[in-house]
Amino acid sequence: MLHFERWKVIAIVAICLAGVVFAMPNLFSKQTVDGWPSWMPKRQLALGLDLRGGAHLLLSMDTVELRKDWLVTLRSDVRKQLREAKIRFTGLGIVGNGVQVRIPDPADVEKAYDALKKLVQPMGNAILGRSTDDIEVTRSGSDAIIVKPSEQGLQQRVTDAAGSSVETVRRRVDELGTTEPNIVRQGQDRILVQVPGYDDTRKLKAVIGKTAKLTFHEVHPTTSAEEARQTRVPLGYKIYPSDEGEAGGSYLLKEAPVVSGEDLVDAQPGFDQRTNEPIISFRFNQSGARKFGRFTKNNVGVPFAIVLDNKVLSAPVIREPILGGSGQISGSFTVESANDLAIQLRSGALPTKLTIVEERTVGPSLGADSIEAGELAVVIGTLAVAGFMVFAFGLFGVFAVIAVLINLTLIIAAMSLLGSTLTLPGIAGLVLTVGMAVDANVLIYERIREELRAGKTAISAVEAGFTKAFVTILDSNLTTLIAALVMFWLGAGPVRGFAVTLSLGIFATIFTAFTVTRLLVSLWIASQKTRKIPAPL
């Protein structure tokens, strides 16, 4: 057990040196490391948001809303389809999870069914190589037809919406001028936004939180919202509340917009030249400009409504045709809200509202304090353990301390190479590893003492100490590894960082105890001049 072949010695020294080399960049600042020649290792530990400072937001998509939106679209698709086929229908509406329509003339039912079947879109399924349909068209009773989104269709919708939400959120966050934001989909309907070094979450939330669906609508020429509410809302029209709440009243608008935000190419915050109020000026693309131009030309003197997220921002009267494709929106904006809205309009509308379900923000000063505290804890903890080990085991204690230092170096090197993130609990894991790593040495040394007392010679006692302690060390470390793996599997962010350092610490501990310590001990034995080696402990 104490004899090392030459290649093993070389391998052990090489691994330790590699550890030192790869851990080294962490001792220098980012700028210094960037200046190093390209052949040198440059990867540094990635710090978690809790150490670096930054914002962490977990957003949840509103899948119910998504389904509802789709049903509304389906309902108008059904209406359009049946009108085009010139089929008379009644009772078109959303019933439960689908759209139902009745065909009064029994002769038309089959024709209507065929017409509605055309709405079905097959969805490719790359994995199964088979396609499923996004909606199902079924007949119910003698005269009713139900058009219903399929489960797969809904899932596809959610996936698509998540994808485009991630893109939109990324565009918006990028507009804030942040560096390296991490925006990813998490699970079925969640989006994780992490912005290192940015702690103005209110700004972040203001920019992300709005759907920013901008639409321009015709106002009903004769009936007001009040009248419509008392009698009935005309077909194709809908009552929209004002952005200013109760006081702003409400408007009766045509539900289908004239133009929507999808046709915008640019939006910039600015000030109204006369009133000096904050406004947003925008520009349409060609098709938007054409639609808007045609509409304004035909409706001079008539009000139209600018609607944001189903609330009316303003309803100005068209004074002259707007043919250039650009215009401005006024509302009760502040400089900041105009700025935010411009960002949102530029980066496009979100497919559905995003709700913040979790927020964790750490300011940069607290992060710096945490790093400082963590470093102090590592240093003091290591010193205390080192002092104790040297006190209790003398020279062999020094070997243990060397092993622990190499252990820490290897953990840091491995983390730098793997690109895993160091969090504050991760630092706690390092400190804990220092305390627990020397356990391997304590087990070996105490065993050696026992063997010495049993009357063995120094060499055979040392030999027996390493051999007999091996199984125990393996068993006791593997149980901790089980706990660490469970934490990694189930934990989030910081806890996962702890699990990483703890697991790496366990591997490093087993490695150093059986290579580094053993090598040092065998070198010590080899260095003894006399044949009869004195008891080392």
């Binding site: 809790d50 949840s60 979450t201 209110r202 939330k205 709700t355 913040i356 379900v357 979790e358 927020e359 964790r360 923000t361 750490v362 300011g363 000063s365 607290l366 304090d369 505290a373 102090l376 804890a377 003091i380 903890g381 290591t382 205390a384 353990v385 040297v390 006190f391 209790a392 085991f393 003398g394 020279l395 204690g397 504050l424 609990p425 706690a428 305390g435 627990m436 356990d439 304590v442 087990l443 003492r449 026992e450 007999k468 091996f470 199984v471 125990t472 068993d475 006791s476 149980t479 901790t480 089980i482 706990a483 660490a484 469970v486 934490m487 189930l490 934990g491 910081p494 806890v495 702890f498």
Partner: protein
Amino acid sequence: MFKGVDFFPHGTKFPIMQMRGYFVTASAIAALAAIVLLATQGLNFGIDFKGGSLFEIQTKTGTVDVADLRAKLGDLGLGEVQIQELDLPTDALIRIEEQQGGETAQQQAASKVQDALGENIEIRRVEVVGPTVSGELQQAGVIAVTVAVIGILLYIWFRFEWQFGVAAILALVHDIIITMGVFSLLGFDFGLTEVAALLTLAGYSINDSVVVFDRIRENLRRYKKMPLEELLNLSINETLSRTILTSTTTFLAVLALYVFGTEVIRGFSFAMLFGIVIGTWSSIFVASPFLLWIGVKRDWTGAVGKANPAAGKA
């Protein structure tokens, strides 16, 4: 050469097993008290599990005026507002309970607090956890502890015998329950990092028990005729110095964490500190008595190659 100070007495013959009745009774009382506390008072769940919001603040000038803060925040109508002073007189922690009205309500409340705090206060940390996420985290915490305990049980069963596994798990559950009881007693916040501490404690406590068990297994092979009680006592005494030394080094390291660490890991390091003490206690005084009661297989000669190939070689 300097051999170090072998300060811990060796060859001790403490009658630990003979006095097991006292130790186990003490542990049983503590565990029972912990269960009663957990049942009546419960744990003071942090926002990870309960939802709500938390703000760590620092004044830019002067010190924190808790009464003033309480008055300002109390007027917002956000339910219970807790203000906790931290180590520095400029620092404090504000907790707002979960608001009725779902995810958006939490955000609105957090925003109100930020407005009310004013210019002189820097908000250094904000955590807002809504009802969905807190429910999920609760579930994850329970699953994590259960899976870890079962995983450890299976491992010990595989490496030793089922009797060892059961004794180790009983000691482990004892440690976890008493630690949670202390959290309940002191009203400390119990969140995700504290669950991580419990899991680590589980690993650590088993680690200690395994060392004793390994020795028991070794002695079972060596002294085939020795009565079990005597054999267990011998094993505990033989490993006592190691148990104490290791607990000391780990304790020292975690103490550094407790003293110098920030508020975020205060609860974590406290749980670990306490856990080391209780874990050491249970591996000396609790695990082995359990093993005696359950009984172990005495004939290990045939099982050497199968159950423990590495030890067989030695």
